[in-house]
């Protein structure tokens, strides 16, 4: 899918609006969009909405051997993916610069700030440690992916519970959630990224840029800070040169914003904790319909399946019996078998020598009594057959497959449906190999 380019008039309009301190969505320059945090039913799963930018985060853990250079520390793995549904321009499997820079920034924010205590993830020093894996998916791109992802990441890490483990000598016992309550991760502080977009060579500043604003901005400053006013990461990119007092001003703004966001996160975590404890319903199925009026919800309902058996019996009785399965393999020599019949080559007029290398078939599994469009399994034992009556010399090369001669006895047969595309290239390859061999002689 191609991304729609930004038109010049839109660009001029946005820049002009910034000059007059107006934003498209009516915010003030230092205002954040609405942040909403919702949790899934699994531990460590959350979705963060920053305006219309939406990020899904999931934390999972696994016992692995530690890194040789750090035998007593757990392993952290962060991964942000830009889902193709987030924006039309995002293609699957393309490592764009944006993705790399976002991943790197989030890694620095979460890993280098030492917000997670990795020593507590050690189970048996040098042998088994917990690997904490944080996967983030961008579900909708409306600007400021960094902030949304950092909030989602830290919320998911705070929400996650890892299985309890006990070590007795050499034995490590991992308890399931039913046996012992899972244990939260040890998190020292919550670093949150705040993004500032600069316009007109650094004259104007906007906090939390939307996607349109990001397209026309000159530069971006990201400050990751926690509520104790400690700067965890700071990164400036783009073509803007910033003055010292600008950066100081931004860090003061960031301190205020981070305090608000941290409070919001704490409240959301508490609400979820309360809902789980009280046995109330939790998970996306609960939170989503309450957020949107257009959502429709239906509780589980029973399906009337009383006379299902009679109906099924009728169908089977009325159905034609399955056509005969031709599944008797004919063994020519050890290692070579034939199922089904060969068919006429459909490649048109071939030379006599090439006709010798004509192809074959595969067996087909029978279609069931009802309609089914599933890809049928194919039998993989095939054999080469010749059409002409000339004897064929078996090649001396051991690399080529052995060709079994079927002279005169078998009449020409019709081709059954080849359901595999792989056969054609391999046939062609085979033919090409054979031709080469002949010319070299």
């Amino acid at each position: 899918m191609k991304a729609t380019p930004l038109s010049n008039c839109e660009r001029r309009f946005l820049l002009r609006a910034v000059q007059e301190k107006k934003r498209l969505d009516g915010r003030q320059c230092y205002d954040y969009r609405n942040i909403r945090v919702s949790f899934g039913a699994d531990r460590g799963c959350c979705i963060v909405d920053l305006g219309r930018t939406r990020v899904l985060a999931q934390v999972s853990c696994e016992l692995v051997p530690p890194k040789p250079s750090r035998p007593t520390e757990g392993v952290l793995f962060f991964n942000l993916e830009l889902s193709p549904m987030a924006a039309p321009g995002l293609e699957p499997g393309r490592q764009s610069e944006l993705l790399v820079s976002l991943n790197r920034l989030l890694e620095r924010c979460l890993r280098d700030s030492k917000c997670i205590d990795t020593e507590s993830l050690c189970v048996v020093a040098g042998e088994k440690v917990w690997q904490i894996r944080l996967d983030m998916h961008l579900l909708n791109h409306d600007g400021n992916i960094t902030d949304a992802a950092s909030i989602a990441g830290i919320v998911a890490l705070c929400h996650f519970r890892r299985p309890d483990v006990s070590v007795q000598g050499e034995e490590v016992t991992v308890y399931t959630p039913e046996e012992r309550d899972p244990v939260p991760l040890s998190i020292h502080h919550m670093p949150i990224c705040v993004s500032f977009a600069f316009f007109h060579q650094g004259t104007y500043l906007l906090v939390d840029p939307t996607e349109r604003e990001e397209r026309v901005m000159d530069g971006l400053l990201v400050i990751a800070m926690n509520k104790h006013h400690e700067i965890c990461t700071i990164q400036s990119s783009g073509v803007v040169m910033l003055l010292q007092d600008q950066i100081l001003r931004c860090s003061k703004i960031a301190a205020v914003k981070v305090a608000e966001i941290t409070e919001l996160i704490q409240k959301a975590l508490e609400n979820d904790q309360k809902a789980r404890k009280e046995g109330g319903k939790f998970g996306f199925a609960e939170s989503i319909p309450n957020q949107r009026i257009t959502a429709f919800k239906m509780e589980s309902a029973a399906v009337d399946t009383n006379d299902v058996e009679e109906q099924a019996g009728e169908i089977i009785a009325k159905a034609d019996p399955p056509s005969e399965v031709i599944a008797n393999p004919v063994l020519h020599t050890p290692g070579t078998a034939q199922i089904g019949e060969g068919i006429e080559s459909s490649w048109g007029d071939l030379e006599e020598s090439e006709k010798e290398e004509a192809a074959e078939e595969e067996g087909e599994s029978e279609a069931a009594a009802f309609e089914c469009e599933k890809v049928e399994t194919e039998d993989t034992s095939t054999v080469r057959k010749t059409k002409s009556d000339e004897p064929i010399v078996l090649s001396d090369s051991e690399e080529e497959e052995v060709v079994i001669l079927e002279p005169q006895e078998l009449p020409r047969k019709t081709r059954t449906q080849t359901s595999s595309k792989q056969e054609n290239p391999s046939k062609k390859a085979f033919n090409k190999r054979r031709r080469k061999k002949r010319t070299s002689r």
């Binding site: 257009t294 429709f296 299902v308």
Partner: protein, 230 residues
């Protein structure tokens, strides 16, 4: 055009929640609540899939088809990279969608459907099918019929469970997933895991067709709500 397909079938529904939201692309949330007894703490969960659809839009020259739209389905798991299981599910979904989408009306275009698994508590493939259909519906693509996905689990003693949870799926002898069309309740796609006899399969299919009635009624109600509220 869609009115013609909102026929007059009525029946109770399995369960579920379909949430349709307007966004840059058309999205559909589809979630299923696992049927859980209150005392089973471990069973709590819901299967949620978020579907987003772009199209019909300009296709890359390498991917375009001269006579119809090129449909592409991407299924992204929550944790880890997509593997072989996701690829095979993508193919099943693609073939089902291609059977209903009238691609000949939009030649040389690309329709790209992205599904993100938000949580998995059983019956994931049928949830994906439903989300895909809702996304197609909400995006306004021309469809020959709607379809829905139903999963049946055959327990070792022969009873049929519709919409199994993850634990029920593990204990089942066979799991069958059907994609059923709305026009005549015919089967668009069937996939099985495990072994079952022909009679059992026919019974599961008949049960799935019953359940499909309820799901289509649910589609109808949710679309009605969506378009009456916005």
């Amino acid at each position: 055009m869609l009115q013609g397909y909102l026929g007059e079938y009525t029946a109770p529904l399995i369960h579920g929640l379909i949430h349709v939201a307007v966004r840059l692309c058309r999205d559909a949330w589809l979630q299923r609540r696992a049927q859980a007894a209150p005392e089973e703490r471990g069973e709590r969960g819901d299967t949620s899939v978020l579907a987003g659809l772009y199209g019909p839009a300009e296709a890359k020259v390498s991917k375009e088809l001269p006579d119809r739209a090129a449909l592409e389905v991407l299924l992204r798991p929550k944790v880890g990279l997509p593997g072989v299981l996701e690829r095979s599910r993508e193919q099943l979904l693609r073939q089902t969608c291609e059977a209903v989408v009238l691609g000949v009306l939009h030649p040389r275009t690309a329709i790209s459907l992205v599904l993100q698994v938000l949580s998995d508590a059983g019956s994931l493939l049928s949830c994906c099918l439903n989300a895909a259909c809702m996304a197609l519906l909400d995006a306004g693509l021309p469809l020959a019929a709607l379809f829905c996905g139903v999963t049946c689990a055959l327990q070792p003693d022969g009873t049929i469970l519709l919409d199994p949870t993850a634990r029920q799926e593990q204990e089942a002898r066979a799991i069958l997933t059907f994609a059923i069309a709305s026009s005549d309740r015919k089967v668009l796609m069937a996939t099985t895991k495990g072994s079952c006899s022909v009679e059992e399969m026919q019974q599961c299919l008949a049960a799935a067709q019953r359940a499909a009635d309820t799901i289509f009624q649910f589609y109808r109600d949710s679309v009605r709500r969506r378009y009456s509220k916005c």
